[in-house]
């Protein structure tokens, strides 16, 4: 009797336990490269070898000595911030209009505004390099800014549309009945409600921009090297833990940003690919 009971309980749980084991292995797989990079970045040896025997901050000191890495990080942050702001200026009004429209035209427009996400970056990079060189911008901060804004707009539009749709019309209609003008409604009701959406959309744009190698690759010069470009060329010339250190620094920046998003609107807007 009790034997049946415990067997039944086990039988019922066994698939779940196997699944749990699989999931644990999966996360080990997912996190292993990151964990080892962080470990290596605190190692003391010239070459990358395991196990790490002694720990030091020498590779972080190296970042301070070898300027291109940190300089490019700073450059990338400026670029990412500027393109996110620009993307918000273009994207937020568009998103607000699209979220409340049901016309077929609106469908077409939103497909178009999201399209840059579906184009291979490397192609977009080549195409933009041509175009921007042809109109005299060539390799410059402005060119990079335009390229990154093209890719950032979809993230802002997607997030703001989702947040604005989720809110529904009721609050704005309530404000209108209470006598608020269109501008007052926007300032006192709409904007506070979608503020977190705009913020997280911009943060995503920043994070994507920071890691966008394919797009920046074609605009590299001494003055316009973004972090991924410098990391790649560094990696191709020497293979030492400095790359682990700068990667760790960037990761910490990204994690802080992620926690900020989690605190504001949650992570669910990361998920849907459309």
């Amino acid at each position: 009797m009790t034997a049946t009971a415990s067997w039944r309980r086990l039988e019922r749980r066994l698939p779940t336990l196997l699944l749990l084991a699989f999931v644990l292995i999966f996360f080990a797989f997912l996190l292993a490269p990151i964990v080892f990079v962080v470990l290596v970045s605190f190692g003391d040896s010239e070459i990358i070898a395991f196990p790490v025997t002694s720990y030091s901050l020498r590779w972080y000191h190296r970042l301070l000595e070898y300027r291109p890495l940190l300089d490019s990080l700073w450059f990338s942050l400026k670029l990412a911030g500027a393109s996110a702001v620009l993307a918000a200026l273009f994207g937020v009004p568009a998103a607000l209009a699209l979220a409340r429209s049901r016309s077929g035209l609106a469908d077409l427009v939103s497909t178009f505004l999201l399209a840059p996400l579906s184009i291979p970056m490397i192609l977009l990079g080549i195409a933009l390099l041509y175009k921007l060189s042809a109109i005299g911008l060539g390799i410059s901060f402005t060119s990079l800014l335009i390229a990154h804004t093209v890719v950032s707009i979809p993230y802002v539009v997607r997030t703001v549309v989702a947040v604005y749709r989720g809110i529904g019309r009721n609050y704005e209609e309530a404000a209108a009945i209470l006598g608020a003008s269109r501008r007052q409604i926007f300032t006192y009701v709409t904007l506070p409600l979608i503020g977190s959406g705009i913020f997280s959309g911009m943060l995503f744009a920043v994070l994507i921009s920071l890691d966008n190698l394919s797009l920046s690759l074609f605009f590299g010069s001494a003055q316009t090297n973004t972090l991924p470009v410098v990391m790649l060329s560094y990696l191709q010339n020497q293979f030492d833990p400095a790359i682990a250190a700068i990667g760790t620094v960037q990761m910490v920046i990204a994690l802080v940003a992620l926690l900020l998003i989690e605190r504001t609107v949650g992570l669910k807007f990361m998920s849907s690919p459309s």
Binding site: T4, A5, W7, R8, R9, E11, R12
Partner: protein, 386 residues
């Protein structure tokens, strides 16, 4: 299993209850969802588990279905211990709250699913599916998908799907909750008729007292993981043992009365603020000490009110403080010194509406037939004592 063997088996186990729960209990973490619970459902009858959400009725149903394992106790279906059988082997039919029709299958595929799982051959599957769809009046909808059907039609498909396998028991989990009022009443009737025709033991989970009263042979009232009362609808309605039961099934006026004296076969009680009168008699109740406070429940439809002028001199008085017209009845709210809460009384409308109406502020006399006031088992709460 063919019909013949099913019949043979039911005759062998004649007298066995269709479902028997023996001291079944279940807790989730530190929360006891179900205290040790036992009840029998006679074979072929419909039993309702009635109670508010969180009362343990759904847990009980899920244990019977095999979705949850009880911490202890036994579940016997037709006399066989099924406590630890997986749902697949219990041969039950179930209609879920939202019907849970498979959205990617047609009506016919939905109904045939159980037969397909049991590896019934193709021809028989088709024949039984068609017959079942005829029974629920949906033969022409066989190739539609669930989302193309109305709520009532989906409900019928769910019923057909659960019955086509000739299960040993039918489980209904709030099956009518999603339907509007008229359709719900119609479906209550249809389900009940079908259940009687087939003679299948049925367990219905509901929080709707009206549904429980109209559909069941037997009601199990539950609250906070315990059974409060079991009995036929009429028994439970007419003889609520506790305040919870009397208020959950229908409406009740709960009045804290004083025991004025014990008489042969019952107690003489007095309403609060009625100290001078001889009070009223309640039969067939356990003896309570004179002077103590007890709770009495009187249904609003049992309270008879007449203008004070026509009332007998010994009848307690009250003042009309509110009035609502409800079609077939007037609903009056009555105030009486010594009572915290107003009393509710219904007055049947037999002629022109105005004839039976009473103005707010009017003084009335109260009376009720002997035997309609029920002594409750609960101890009065402090707030009940005036």
């Amino acid at each position: 299993m063919t019909q013949a063997t099913a019949k043979a088996q039911s005759s062998v186990t004649a007298g066995e209850p269709g479902l028997r729960l023996r001291d079944v209990c279940k807790s989730f973490g530190s929360v006891a969802a179900l205290q040790p619970t036992s009840f029998d459902v006679p074979a072929g009858t419909l039993c309702s588990l009635l109670g508010p959400s969180g009362c343990g009725k759904t847990t009980t149903l899920r244990i019977v279905a095999g979705f949850e394992l009880p911490d202890a106790g036994q579940v016997l279906i037709r006399g066989e211990d099924r406590t630890y059988d997986p749902p697949q082997r219990r041969k039950l039919g179930m209609v879920f709250q939202n019907y849970s029709l498979f959205p990617h299958m047609t009506v016919a595929q939905n109904v045939a699913f159980g037969l397909r799982m049991a590896r019934v051959n193709r021809a028989e599957t088709e024949a039984r599916t068609r017959r079942m769809l005829d029974i629920v009046h949906l033969p022409q909808h066989a190739d539609r998908y669930p989302h193309q059907l109305s709520g009532g039609q989906q409900q019928r498909v769910a019923l057909a799907r659960s019955l086509v396998t000739e299960p040993s028991m039918l489980l209904l989990d709030e099956p009518l909750g999603a339907l509007d009022k008229n359709l719900r009443e119609q479906m209550q009737f249809e389900i009940r008729q079908l259940q009687r025709e087939i003679g299948i033991t049925t367990l219905l989970v509901t929080h709707d007292q009206e549904e429980a009263l109209t559909m069941s042979d037997m009601i199990v009232v539950m609250d906070r993981g315990r059974i409060l009362q079991t009995g036929s609808p009429a028994e439970v309605y007419e003889h609520p043992r506790t305040r919870f039961v009397s208020e959950f099934l229908g409406t009740s006026n709960i009045i804290a009365c004083t025991v004025a004296g014990a008489e042969e076969g019952g107690l003489r009680l007095r309403l609060p603020g009625d100290e001078g009168s001889s009070g009223f008699f309640v039969a067939d109740v356990p003896v309570r000490p004179v002077g103590s406070t007890v709770l009495v429940a009187i249904r609003p439809e049992h309270l008879r009110i007449v203008p004070a002028g026509e009332a007998g001199p010994s009848e307690p008085r009250a003042t009309v403080s509110g009035h609502v017209f409800r079609g077939a009845t007037h609903v009056f709210q009555l105030q009486r010194p010594g009572l915290d809460r107003p009393l509710m009384a219904y007055r049947q409308i037999t002629g022109p509406v105005g004839e039976t109406a009473l103005p707010v502020g009017a003084e009335v006399g109260l009376s009720w037939l002997p035997g309609t006031a029920r002594l409750l088992e609960d101890e009065p709460l402090r707030e009940d004592a005036a």
